[in-house]
Chain length 449, copies 2
Amino acid sequence: MKLLGLSREKASEAVKNGKVVVVQFGLGKLGLPLAVATAAAGAKVIGVDISRELVEMINEGRNPLPGEPGIGDLLPRLVSEGRLMVTTDWRSAVTKGDVYVVAVPVTVEEDMRPRLGALLDVAGKISEGLEKGDLVMIETTLPLGTTRRITSLLEEKTGYRHGVDFGVVHAPERTSSGRMLKDITESYPKVVGSDSPKALEAAVGFYSAINKRGIVEVSTSLAAEAVKVFEGVYRYVNIALANELALYAENVGLNVWEVIEAANTQPYCHLHRPGAGVGGHCIPVYPRFVMYDALKRGLDLRLLNAAKAVNEHMPLHVVLMAVKALNSIGKPVRGSRILIVGLTYRAGVREYYMAPSLRVLRELKDMGAEVYGYEPAAMPEDFLKLGVEKWGGEEVDLAIIINAYREVVEDIYRGRLPAKTVLDARGIVDLERARSSGYYAIQLGRAGP
Amino acid sequence: MKLLGLSREKASEAVKNGKVVVVQFGLGKLGLPLAVATAAAGAKVIGVDISRELVEMINEGRNPLPGEPGIGDLLPRLVSEGRLMVTTDWRSAVTKGDVYVVAVPVTVEEDMRPRLGALLDVAGKISEGLEKGDLVMIETTLPLGTTRRITSLLEEKTGYRHGVDFGVVHAPERTSSGRMLKDITESYPKVVGSDSPKALEAAVGFYSAINKRGIVEVSTSLAAEAVKVFEGVYRYVNIALANELALYAENVGLNVWEVIEAANTQPYCHLHRPGAGVGGHCIPVYPRFVMYDALKRGLDLRLLNAAKAVNEHMPLHVVLMAVKALNSIGKPVRGSRILIVGLTYRAGVREYYMAPSLRVLRELKDMGAEVYGYEPAAMPEDFLKLGVEKWGGEEVDLAIIINAYREVVEDIYRGRLPAKTVLDARGIVDLERARSSGYYAIQLGRAGP
């Protein structure tokens, strides 16, 4: 059933009553939970992905995201009931949709240029099946202006008029790994924006059927893009602030962790935690969308530029601290054995994009260290790809803690980690306990011993 | 009764049972509510201030802070019961104290150097009455290291040893104008830090008697200084971020207010609101403490430097917007009549220190505008001092809204504000309503009409 032109109430009813066919592109960490939530709300969902392996797995009712609560229960049931089916055959899928959902990632090049290839490719595919009355919902976080670009592309390819024949809506996902389904359906209100009031009305109905926390309507697709991107910018700048304060604290002789914790007992203060840098598909990417756009406009965003400089300095600062730790036991980097605890951008999430560990790893390897990695979220093949040996309990000169893996910290307290020195870049080691267990231990954001 | 050496429980009991004499320096906007709260908790408080007028007023039981809830009820009672007395005669006061509380402000010079004169002067006065067992509590927000400097000064002047004969504690105030008493006694836990464990123990007892929300103990006086200063830095940098996003939004064609409001529906996002700049005794001052210290250390705090550049650009940006608004009605600045709504650093607070309005005012006057000020928090003499005419309803070409005075906004909606154009730098005017009431209206953080 086509939704464009329906009131929000009627659109919502249509979804709940199983009258709407959704064709969704992208079944990754975002896409699959989204498809599951949409199907669970009542829509018939056809998921499209390029990975044959993934598609087979899902159609067999097996869950490719074991770390996501709820998916394992819902997925097999939705698949067996025929409410969710997935395919690599986009050609047959695109002819069937009333609503098209886009959930393919956008990353950036080294020079911050957004990689829009996959997204524009999907838009092209949608154009081949688009019918009058259809809606296109873009869930991917986008550089400002991208929804309008896709709208124009669809108009050009189909000859249809936006807001009359079809509608494009930006409805940016607000999710975190490990709680995707909950985030999609109830953690936060859903933000939707469109340049067509008619499309917006129907989209509000569509998302009301999925998200219990309600809808935040904004005036344009541009505003919806900015909402999500600015959320990331807030995080990025505040991590930079924590990092700058950590560097200052080291110089002054403060314990930055203690200070931040005490400052945040005031409810208007939300100081973030420092660390070895910022990684992943989200937080370091969205500020780059803004910075790249500003660059093209000749606009000087000095705060964001400074935030980037500070955050990107952090892996090098960790390397310098590592050199000092080794120096304290009379060792140069060359030939030293170093364990990096945490290779992904965040503990427990198998995702390496822009992970600061990788920069630390590369610098230390370049200087001739023998580097081991401890990463419980990794698959065996990841170590090979990253060029680091999987740690098998070998004795090392230095352990650098980058991700919050508590089991390693427990080993330190029990004196069981076979390392001479410990550098805690995550603020999770009680230095006094580590030292009383015999380690030379230092921490980011504190003056050395 | 001397507190140094007592357990927290005994120190707290001593305060509640009226056995402790507190001599407090500074009875201003912070000091008076603090003295009232301390006396109300049970201590006998002798307040010292240099203003004869203020001292007379308080001793007559009259309330100099009518905008502070609770003071008007407590003050006359505490004074008449002899539990709070105030004086300009510091010499007789300093001989009587068990606990000395310091609440004199520290501001900064243009080059960011902290003005410590009044504080060091008070420390010198305290040294003349300091006895063994006394405690000194510094409530003023301090540049890092100042507590240690005052401790050394007291040791030198008295020959006593810190931590043995007397104790110095930093216990930074966490208060906002208009809710001082509530903030002191129950809004937030009290942060205390000392370089003497004995002094810290007694101070925890002292503040437990005053603050119901409990105590956050930090390891050193330096840490306590950093807690308060970093809270201010967080606010300052986040205001700079909001301002940078506002400038970007104007360029891109977004409504930054709409975007920020929607982004903050996600509970991890705390984007602040943009404006004409940052003023007052707190938020713009504390980052300067850090920046000045970093300068002396040869440390480059690029994020803070960028934040300052952005925030200090804002008054000039408002001036540029004003010029554009006048231009839209074919007027140069010279000879134009301009109303500035809000002269203080914040609506309703009679405080002009670093207020961005004053920079806007000066620039427009320098260009030959006839400037009027609307400021309900001002006393009549303030206008003369600021060099601006008090607005008496004269017709103007442009009204610039800098503080959140809603009555002016209501006048705009009713078409009763005698202004041709309106520039809203505070994000409180619904532009559509203003325009439908006949005004040419523009807003900071939005593309012009």
